[in-house]
Amino acid sequence: MVFLTRAQILRLCLFCQAACVLLRLSFMKHGMRLGDYLDLEWFLEKDRTSEPLEVLDRDRKIGLAATAESVAPALHAAYWLAFRRRADDKGLPSGSLRSILFMLRLALGLGGIVAGVSLTRALLLYSGVEPVNVSVFLLLAVFPQVGFIIFAAGLMAFRGLRKIELGIPLRPLFNLFWSRPGSLSPQAGFARSLFLRRGWPARMLGWEGLRLAHLGGFCLALGSLAGLVVSVAVTDLAFGWQSTLQVGAQGMHSLVGALSLPWSWLPAQWGLTPTLAQIEGSRIILKDGMGALANADLVAWWPFLCMCLLVYALLPRLLLLASAHWMLRRVERGFVHPDLSRIVDRMRAPLLGSARTAEAPSAPLPLKAAREAPMALSVTEPGALVGCALLLPPELADRIEAGRLSELTRRVCGYPDPRMLPFSLDPENVRQALAQCSGFEWIGGHERFVVLVEAWQPPIRENLLALTLLGQEPGRSLVLVLCGRPGGGNWLTAPTAAEREVWADAVGQLAPLRVDIFGADL
């Protein structure tokens, strides 16, 4: 006994699944059918409310699976549909359509057969008194069907040639059968709404409806024929003809000859057409009664009637049924859903992805303005009295007039003519600046530093460390002057509100260090 491992069973299952898909696809090679298009619309409708990226991802996976299973490119759309059907286990519009069509076919088929049998049985009532009238049989069982067939064929030829939609009054029909559309399943409701739109669904349904009608007609003819054959086989029947008009047997023979033209080429000994003698012998004259009529003549008519039903009712209906079927297939084949190309494109295009994760919320800047030990200013230089010192970026030192800078310091700390310190705002440079200032004699013995900062540069940790270093000495005042982006040759422009806010917040972290902040646009 052979035992399969779990992996082997899994592989076998996968193989069977793939084989099933390929088998289904091979059946779909001729193209998509009405049910397929309904399902396609159903899935597309679902996709319309889905996230495009999810749709893209799913379709690409289906495309890769198709490639892995070596599905021909021409069958990719069909593969997509088969895949979606497998994944959707909640019922599909095609299932609803199939159920409804099955019920209709059953009803029309059985109804047609029952109606046909009933019709012939009613016409073949014979109690031994009066033979079945052949003319009445032809008039009621054959000619009406012929009339309907001619009408249907004409309609079909007209519609087929002009290639226009079959104008079936769908809304009243639907309203008749589904007076409360809300009670339908979502799938059936979707199919209903799709058919009520103009366009390919209604057109295909029109041909499907015609096919159903011809199926009913075919079954009616079949039932009529079967009823006749069975009645002949199991009951005693006698056929005759009568007329008030003086047509004579010759006239009737001519009519019969004309009707039997289609099968006149068959051997005469088969008795498919009554002879002149048989016609003469089966004429009913009521005043003479039927006692004088020969039995052989009275039963000579049934093969003729069978052939009439076969040739004028059953076969044309079969032909029309086949034509409606062919027309439906032609419409289905001729229709290319405009979204199929989009689906195939999504299946074949490599899926481009990027991380969709959001960035983690950031914490405030980890700025720890570490206090540094007070500097021992070793260098002592003699100099004049200094009101204030202006620390400014080296790039600005030569670009701003001294007068403007003097005015600036006068305004912010009350002392014009500052000592210029062109140093960057980082600890290393600030140390150098402080070293340079160590010999200054400050007015009133109070050190005043004004720092000009280009506020469009965001404050970084080095800036804040430098400010700490500069302001940590007791008795030293520190003023920060913010200037904005240079414009039109002016380097002392006003900072924006956002820049002011950013710097104020950053300097606020240096508390208890006190720093006064001004804008350069004083």
């Binding site: 495009p52 390919w200 490599p350 990027s354 959001a358 800047l365 600890p427 540069q457 080095e462």
Partner: protein, 468 residues
């Protein structure tokens, strides 16, 4: 395991690093803040093809201690190649140097460098320090000049300095970068390191194909929208003939609402095709798209001028007549085409500039019911298309890094019309008019055939707009 190209996007705080990454990987969720220092951790954003990561961009925090870092590296006595690792080892536990460690770690691990700077400001000592640090790493590096304010006064000064430190310098504004500019940037990254050429080439190809696919999806969405809207109608029973005006007004209001809703849905779908978060996408303040679809301004700005409208209608009417002429095997000597074209032209002439509210909608009165719609003026299709195209234009120029402000399409037309359709060729406008006629009429077969032509037309137009 294949090593994929990784690019660390590095720079001074608030220079637009996150914006560059957001634009390159099309991620709206990357935190972009006008406040500096919001990025405190390096975040890797990979780009994958069919689930396989092919390249990655690392968004890093900005430099906080460039002078100190440079000073340490200059003082380092070991070999140049070991400086970076030694630096990271020494400062890994120093919270003050956390940002430097974060931003330099990917570089130590082999990432290429994209140095982002705002070239609309002057060059400073601190920038030179940062450039020197990056030069000392010895990694392949490119500088991106991201002119945040559009000021180009300092551009040359920057370029001169950057050329001394970087293998390549490119201008790239993350906030207004078009698809073509993004592709050019990725193309240039290929030249940075030979080993990365294949991966980047693949990414560029897939990006381009993906963009074409999005355009095709948008064209399909637009056609489907047009078909739905142009065939829309509203009907209501009319019990009292005297109340006809009131019922009509109610129906017009309902129809307008339905059309607005459809258009809103279309715009949302287009946004999602381009991976924009609908909540973050906003139209510019003074965009004419903010005007209601049925407002007089919309109908003044969009659509075709009267002359062009008539020409389009004539072309569409003529096309229908040609079919009849062909049916007569030419024996009509083009009479149907001439008469059809003239009739359609006259209709457009008189309907073309109708007011929108109420009068524009077709009103057909049944015995016991009132119907409003389908739309009966050919100008509709051009107005709807113009609004779609302008919205598309905003969407593709709406950077994933964009955080507000304004941007406008170039002035498009002579004669007051600003829609894209007014610049189209006569044949294109004729096709639109023909599609309008089929979509509002009963010829469903023709409508389906024309829809395919319309899709192709729109796909080509969207491609053209992508390259603008």
């Amino acid at each position: 395991m294949t090593i994929i190209p990784i690019f660390a996007v590095i720079g001074h705080p608030n220079e637009g690093k996150s914006s560059v990454v957001a634009t390159l990987v099309e991620n709206d969720r990357i935190r972009i803040s006008p406040r500096p220092g919001e990025t405190v951790r390096s975040m890797t954003y990979p780009v994958s093809i069919d689930g396989r990561e092919v390249i990655a961009f690392v968004d890093t925090p900005g430099f906080q201690n460039p002078v100190q870092t440079l000073g340490w590296m200059r003082k380092f006595r070991g070999s140049e190649g070991e400086a970076l690792s030694a630096f990271l080892d020494e400062f890994k536990d120093d919270p003050g140097m956390a940002h430097e460690c974060e931003l330099l770690s990917p570089v130590r691990d082999g990432a290429g460098i994209i140095y982002v700077l705002d070239a609309s400001r002057p060059l400073r000592q601190v920038d030179k320090a940062e450039m020197e640090i990056l030069r000392l790493t010895g990694s392949p590096r490119m500088a991106i000049l991201n002119c945040k304010t559009g000021e180009e006064q300092f551009l040359e000064e920057w370029k001169a300095e950057l050329r001394r430190h970087f293998n390549m310098v490119r201008t790239f504004n993350a906030l207004s970068a078009t698809f073509a500019e993004r592709m050019r940037l990725l193309e240039s990254l290929r030249a940075l390191e030979q080993d990365w050429e294949d991966a980047l080439g693949l990414v560029v190809d897939v990006f381009a194909r993906d963009w074409r696919r999005r355009n095709a999806e948008c064209a399909a969405l637009a056609c489907s929208f047009l078909r739905r809207v142009l065939g829309m109608s509203e009907t209501a029973p009319l019990a009292d003939p005297g109340a006809r005006a009131e019922v009509e007004a109610r129906l017009v209001h309902r129809l307008e609402g339905a059309i607005r809703k459809e258009e809103e849905r279309l715009h949302e779908q287009v946004c999602r095709q381009f991976r924009h978060d609908r909540r973050s996408f906003e139209l510019p303040e003074q965009s004419v798209l903010r005007q209601d679809l049925f407002s007089r301004t919309t109908w003044t700005v969009f659509g075709l001028s009267r002359a062009k409208l008539v020409a389009a209608a004539v072309a569409a009417g003529g096309a229908a007549g040609v079919a009849l002429d062909l049916a007569t095997l030419g024996s009509s000597l083009g009479l149907f085409a001439t008469v059809g074209g003239a009739a359609a032209g006259l209709a457009a002439l008189f309907q073309g500039e109708r007011l929108v509210r109420g009068k524009l909608l077709g009103l057909g009165i049944g015995r016991r019911s009132v119907q409003v719609g389908p739309l009966d003026t050919v100008q509709w299709i051009f107005v709807l298309l113009d609004r779609f195209l302008l919205h598309y234009w905003y969407v593709i120029h709406w950077s994933h890094a964009w955080q507000g402000g304004d941007f406008s399409p170039p002035a498009l037309d002579e004669g007051g019309k600003q829609g894209f359709t007014s610049t189209w060729s006569r044949e294109m406008r004729g096709l639109c008019a023909e599609f309008f006629k089929a979509a509002t009429g009963d010829d469903d077969v023709k409508s389906a055939a024309l829809e395919m032509d319309m899709r192709r037309l729109l796909e080509e137009e969207l491609e053209r707009m992508s390259r603008l």
